[in-house]
């Protein structure tokens, strides 16, 4: 045994060295793993900053489109929108969705110029989704920005998504009319004894004709009809032809407006079989030639949820709507 004690000492030395090396290796692995975690945190922060940049770009896109412009620009902005671009949970005619991608230069119609995207974004795997409820909240647009960092970034492929909602000036807070409308009666009306046309403002408050026309166009474009679920609520009619369609129900009244254009010579007649539950308004003094009352019911169809006291004439962020990730 004594003859082997030198070898045992040698083995002990080797084992000690091995253990020391193993500990060193484990320490290095631990440091490297911590380094990777820290780097990934940095990449995630970079992706979040880029998605925030894209979200802000989208907000500026809406702000620059709507601010100081005729609200008719709304139709141009949403020209290429469709329900098919909506997430599966929102694929009904109620929702209008517009996907903005960097490669699709014609995302917006008309003369609307698309803003340039931040440089760090991978154009092929990133998008902005504009969504709004054209039936119950056409004045509120939800913006979702989803990005992936491009190959020029250290964290290429890192993803992030953000969302925020905006108020757009397509409507205004509704104030009760000065005149007292009669109770709901969906049967055709007898001629009004008062031939003085009711002033627009008295019925619609601060909501302008152009705004209602824009909402009507959006509902029509999105496929809302009297039979759809939910049904269409605003009808802006430029045609002088006799109106034959029954519209609205007591629980879901409509606003039917015959424009100056429709009433240019004489306002359209309402056929006797057409029962309208809601408000009928003629923009022209020629209205008095028709055999219907100028209004029939409180215009619940255009009462959208605006915060009290808001200046609805400009684009504003919806407070508390900023959300990180998810639809």
């Amino acid at each position: 045994m004594n003859q082997h004690s030198g070898m045992a000492s040698l083995w002990s030395a080797i084992c000690l060295v091995f253990i020391t090396s193993l500990l060193g290796w484990i320490t290095l692995r631990s440091v490297m793993s911590e380094t990777r975690r820290s780097q990934q945190q940095l990449f995630a922060a970079q992706a979040l900053a880029s998605s925030e940049s894209l979200l802000e770009t989208a907000i500026a896109q809406i702000d620059s489109t709507y601010s100081g412009q005729d609200i008719a620009i709304d139709a141009g902005f949403w020209r290429n929108a469709s329900s098919s671009q909506c997430p599966a949970t929102l694929a009904t005619p109620q929702w209008q969705c517009l996907k903005w991608t960097a490669s699709n230069l014609g995302s917006f119609g008309g003369t609307i110029k698309a803003l340039a995207w931040p440089e760090s974004i991978d154009d092929a795997n990133s998008f902005v989704l504009f969504t709004r409820d054209v039936r119950f909240a056409p004045h509120k647009v939800k913006i979702t920005a989803q990005i992936s960092l491009n190959s020029e970034q250290a964290g290429a492929g890192s993803r992030a998504s953000l969302q925020q909602s905006l108020y757009i000036p397509i409507s205004a807070p509704w104030t009760p009319p000065d005149v007292e409308p009669p109770l709901l009666d969906p049967t055709p009306k007898t001629p009004s004894t008062d031939c003085t046309p009711i002033e627009w403002r008295k019925l619609f408050g601060h909501v302008s004709p152009a705004q209602l026309k824009a909402i009507s166009a959006a509902q029509l474009q999105n496929g809302l009809t009297t039979l759809s679920q939910p049904s269409r609520s605003i009808y802006w009619i430029d045609s002088p032809l006799t109106w034959t369609q029954s519209l609205g129900t007591q629980s879901s009244p409509v606003v039917l407006i015959f424009s100056d254009l429709a009433c240019a010579i004489q306002c359209p007649q309402i056929a006797s079989q057409a029962a309208i539950a809601g408000m009928i308004y003629f923009q022209s003094s020629n209205a008095c030639q028709n055999s219907v009352a100028l209004y029939t019911v409180n215009p619940a169809a255009l009462q959208y949820a605006w915060p009290r006291g808001i200046d609805a004439s400009r684009v504003q962020r919806v407070s508390g709507s900023w959300k990180n990730a998810g639809f």
């Binding site: 030198g6 020391t20 090396s21 060193g24 925030e52 500026a60 962020r317």
Partner: protein
């Protein structure tokens, strides 16, 4: 007490060869362990620097979006550069540049961009300069916070 060669013969102990061999293995192992430790320390230092640079960048980016007096004061000029040094003697130079991006609207400052860059290099390796760049945008669209 004295020993002669005859007495030491057959007694346990290290031969020169064993001692040399053990020393070589020990030296090799220790040098490996030292190298591993140095690599760990270097990686740790690099990461510390990157973390600090990232913190400096994100701090400024956050400040840009907060309308406090301190932050507003920091962005009085559209571009600037400051130098900071950490406890290891590494110098960090932080610079930024704000620009207004062109939009269709009447407000020329509707969409702004902040470009932040942090550069640093180790005092021992002056040629090992590193840079972290960051870009963020903001729209001046206000938020409705109630009356």
């Amino acid at each position: 007490m004295t020993f002669n060669r005859e007495q030491l013969k057959g007694k346990p102990g290290f031969t020169v060869l064993e001692a040399l061999f053990a020393s070589a293995i020990l030296a090799l192992g220790l040098s490996g362990a030292v190298q591993l430790s140095m690599a760990s320390m270097a990686a740790n230092q690099t990461q510390q620097n990157l973390d600090l640079a990232s913190g400096l960048v994100q701090d400024l980016a956050e400040c840009w979006q907060v309308p406090s007096a301190f932050c507003n004061n920091q962005f009085q000029s559209s571009h600037n550069a400051i130098v900071l040094t950490n406890e290891a003697g590494v110098q960090f130079q932080r610079g930024w540049n704000t620009t207004a991006l062109s939009t269709q609207g009447a407000n020329p400052n509707l969409l702004q961009s902040l470009q932040i860059s942090v550069q640093w290099s180790s005092p021992d390796l002056p040629n090992s300069a590193k840079e972290l760049s960051w870009q963020i945008r903001r729209a001046t669209t206000p938020a409705w916070v109630g009356l």
